[in-house]
């Protein structure tokens, strides 16, 4: 069940831990991911068998965007910043922490800076993804 939010709820979350989620990185997830991207040569047969770095764009973000989509405002995407610190491999278990880093309003728009950090099963920070979501109120 996805919690329904209001913008005032998000204001209260700024700077606070918001969500903690876990994601097993399974082969079927990677297969579906690369099919969705249309990548014919995704997992390289070399030394590391790393999963595509773009996967980190989605890990954890699906829950965040689901919650934002419960708002009456239209949700648009302003920017994405992805930092990868360590490769992700099939079999890893990622724990994602999401927080609202900042929120500012400039009617009819609301700008929400989201930050998601992904750690692997060893507790190693493997990625950080910052997203700018723009909420546009009904004209």
């Amino acid at each position: 069940m996805i919690q329904q939010l209001k913008i005032d709820d998000l204001k209260g979350l700024v700077g606070q831990p918001w969500l903690t989620l876990t994601y097993p990185i399974e082969a079927c997830l990677i297969r579906r991911f690369v099919e969705a991207v249309g990548d014919d040569t995704p997992i390289l047969p070399g030394k590391k068998a790393e999963v595509p770095p773009a996967l980190l764009l989605t890990i954890g973000f699906e829950r965040v965007i689901s919650m934002l989509l419960g708002l009456p405002e239209a949700v648009l995407h302003g920017s994405t910043e992805l930092e990868c610190f360590e490769p992700v491999r099939i079999g890893d278990l990622l724990t994602v922490t999401a927080r609202v880093a900042a929120l500012r309003e400039r009617a009819p728009l609301t700008f929400i800076n989201l930050e998601l950090e992904q750690h692997n099963q060893k507790g190693v920070l493997i990625g950080r993804c910052k997203q700018l979501a723009i909420l546009r109120g009904k004209a």
Binding site: A36, L57, R63, A74, S79, L82
Partner: protein
């Protein structure tokens, strides 16, 4: 990308191989399924129009994934994406011809290569622009 000599041969201003993509509505549904981004502006034309858009639009993150694919096609087994920073400047639509481009902007000590990246549509509009940093193995 094969080895150290490739790294040495990379020059500022070099363009890496571009990647052409043709997103379809089916691809948007697939991306929604795997990414969890079920924003109706990506699959419900009436909803998108009611929100002031010309029609269903391509997920920004899918365009970013295209850029990541272009980069990994380039560095292959010999590198690792360290950082990617993109802004969504315009809308992409199903049926568009999108071409991802990357141009080397800086070579940094330790095998790091900084690139300007962008997605351009068939009208020549730069709909996604940004920068990427790739670590090439063998550059330490």
């Amino acid at each position: 990308m094969n080895n150290q000599s490739d790294l040495e041969n990379i020059a500022v201003g070099d363009e890496i191989p571009s990647l052409e993509k043709h997103p379809s509505t089916q691809q948007l549904v697939r991306w929604a399924g795997v990414s969890g981004d079920f924003n109706p502006i990506h699959y419900d034309k009436d909803f998108a129009i009611a929100r002031g858009l010309p029609g269903v639009v391509v997920h920004g993150q899918l365009s970013t994934a295209f850029i990541c694919q272009m980069l990994s096609d380039w560095y292959g087994n010999e590198g690792f994406l360290k950082k990617l920073n993109v802004s969504y400047k315009g809308l992409n639509f199903p049926g568009d011809k999108l071409i991802c481009h990357g141009v080397v902007r800086e070579k940094i000590e330790g095998g790091l290569i900084s690139l300007d990246v962008r997605v351009e549509n068939q009208r020549g509009e730069k709909t996604v622009t940004g920068t990427a940093t790739v670590k090439l193995y063998g550059g330490d």
